[in-house]
């Protein structure tokens, strides 16, 4: 079953084709990585999936054109972790995580006890429970990233969209994040630079180049050294050890 599908999506700025007739399907319950060189259109594709950029008759969520789904209803199904932006807010961690419950909140009311409980659970799963009462201004980039990941989980979405969520994270937390996403068990679409993470933790992969989808399929099968070399311009090696697949350059 596909949860979200992209049909013939093109996006042009001036003369430049950012996305060129993109077609892609994302399987329900799977983790799909989007990989590709800088400027290949990964983030732009994500922005259409998250409805940050508008499209018509191009992106379908469970068969329905996303253009027809109001933002407040989409937020009940899809949570988005955008690429890090500058933030001036200085909230407490627990107050940020509970904001993931906003789509469920009654208008003009406060967050309920249930919302707080779900937020705490999300903090636990990302391992930030002990930071609950710290202020964002006292945290590192990686820690803030984990807070935002907890917020995305607190939203209890069917689909999680993450654009380079591992950028500010230490190796330990990169792996922890991927394991958390696996344990969450819902659909995840994730833009990744780290190809080792993609091949180890993602079920499927979409490889992009020059605004097009080069190929899509099972991560272990299609992430081959010669194809990756063609895309990234450096030689790759792929090897197995203790039943795990590694890719390196």
């Amino acid at each position: 079953m596909n949860i979200i599908e992209v049909r013939n999506l093109s996006y042009v700025i001036g003369e430049k084709k950012i996305l060129d007739n993109v077609n892609a399907t994302f399987t329900e319950g799977k983790i799909t990585a989007i990989i590709g060189a800088n400027g290949s259109g990964k983030s732009t594709l994500m922005s259409f999936l998250s409805k940050t950029r508008r499209s018509t008759n191009a992106v379908y969520f469970r068969g329905q054109d996303v253009a027809e789904i109001p933002a407040e209803r989409y937020a009940l199904q899809v949570s988005v972790l955008p690429q890090r932006q500058k933030m001036i807010a200085d909230f407490l961690v627990e107050d940020v995580v509970v904001m993931g419950r906003f789509p469920y909140k009654k208008k003009f009311r406060d967050y309920t006890k249930d919302d707080r409980r779900i937020a705490r659970k999300a903090m636990e799963s990302v391992g930030i429970t002990d930071m609950a009462e710290r202020k964002l201004s006292q945290m590192s980039g990686g820690e803030i990233q984990r807070v935002l990941i907890a917020k995305a989980l607190a939203q209890e979405p069917e689909l999680i969209l993450m654009d380079e969520p591992t950028n500010h994270l230490d190796v330990k937390y990169k792996i922890a994040l991927m394991r958390t996403l696996q344990a969450y068990g819902k659909t995840v679409i994730i833009v990744l630079h780290d190809l080792s993470l993609a091949i180890q933790y993602c079920d499927e992969v979409i490889i992009m180049a020059g605004g097009r989808v080069l190929t899509q399929g099972i991560a272990r099968e299609i992430m081959q050294p010669d194809l990756l070399e063609e895309i990234f311009g450096v030689p790759f090696v792929k090897f197995e050890r203790d039943g795990r697949t590694y890719i390196n350059y």
């Binding site: 937020a75 949570s79 107050d95 904001m99 909140k105």
Partner: protein
């Protein structure tokens, strides 16, 4: 606690002015008044007809300016935003003077000046938002605001100098520097209505404002229409600034500085910020006004000069800090 400080400040503040009245006398007069009788002494007249409405208005306008500054900072995600710095106050001043000079004010009497100020404030805000657009540079927004401020202040001056009937317009100093001189009881209800509307607005949308402060994109992904919130804020802050500027002229920096103090001693959530910002804003304005009256008594210093003396250094300090961080 802050409410108590505010009330105490307001009572003590009655003492100061061109004629000093002992706080004991003030308390006596107030106690008499609360028991139902008002003496005819000149003290009572000064207290009840001049000082009290002025102090109440000062407190309310302090809260209005601070809350408006807070809203602007949230919506622009820029802690340098403030109705004065963004040129909104100058826009209101220009609109007000324009209506007085051209006589349009009389058409909508008695609210003509307010209407003009509102249109001017809205115009200035729309120009700032249009030019600064979605730019993430805090400094760009400030510089555009300064440009607009300079432009509208110049227009105000032109209107005043071009005016045939000098009695129609108050002094140029009034529109540029603000003053609480001549506040009467009639002006209190409209200011009260505005501050209640502001408080209600912030309270009802406290969670929405929190989301916007976290990030516009984050807020949109959580299903919030940030444009609609932005429009609502533009509307209500233009209204608020129009009323304060029409009555008291342009008073700068309060909207910038007070939310910073509130954030420092309170926290960033709007449910909390609301009370800290409005109460601290009220207290600071009451004391700034006391200073304005007492400093060169019996002469009065325009309140805007004092708020600029206090606020401008803080403004520079914030810029300095923001640039160090980025």
């Amino acid at each position: 606690m802050l409410t108590a400080i505010l009330l105490a400040s307001m009572i003590i503040a009655v003492r100061f002015g061109s004629i000093e009245i002992e706080t004991g006398v003030v308390v006596n007069e107030l106690a008499n008044f609360l028991q139902g009788f008002k003496s005819d002494s000149s003290n009572a007249m000064i207290i009840f007809d001049i000082r009290i409405p002025r102090i109440i208005f000062a407190a309310i306008s302090g809260a209005i300016l601070s809350l408006t500054g807070m809203l602007m900072q949230t919506v622009s995600q820029n802690y340098l935003a403030d109705p004065y710095i963004l040129g909104v106050s100058s826009g209101a001043g220009m609109g007000a003077v324009f209506c007085i000079v051209t006589g349009i004010a009389q058409i909508f009497a008695p609210y003509g000046v307010y209407v003009g100020a509102f249109l001017g404030a809205a115009l200035a805000t729309i120009i700032v938002v249009r030019i600064a657009g979605t730019s993430n540079s805090p400094i760009k927004l400030v510089l555009i605001g300064m440009g607009i401020s300079a432009l509208f202040s110049a227009f105000t001056m032109l209107e005043i100098y071009g005016s045939k009937n000098e009695a129609q317009v108050r002094s140029a100093m009034f529109w540029l520097m603000g003053s609480f001189t001549g506040i009467r009881w009639e002006m209190v209800p409209i200011a009260l209505a505005v501050v209640i509307a502001l408080i209600l607005f912030v309270w009802l949308f406290r969670h929405e404002l929190d989301l916007i402060l976290l990030g516009r994109e984050e807020a949109q992904h959580l299903g919030l229409s940030t444009e609609r919130m932005q429009q609502a804020v533009v509307l209500i802050s233009s209204l608020a600034i129009a009323v304060t500027v029409s009555i008291a002229g342009i008073i700068g920096f309060i909207g910038l500085v007070i939310p910073h103090i509130a954030r420092f001693i309170g926290e960033s959530r709007h449910a909390v910020m609301l009370w800290f910002t409005s109460l601290i804003g009220a207290v600071v304005m009451v004391w700034a006004d006391v200073l304005a009256r007492a400093m060169f008594s019996p002469e009065e210093v325009p309140i805007g000069i004092l708020t600029a003396c206090l606020g401008a250094p803080v403004f520079m300090q914030i810029i300095n800090r923001q640039y160090k961080n980025s």
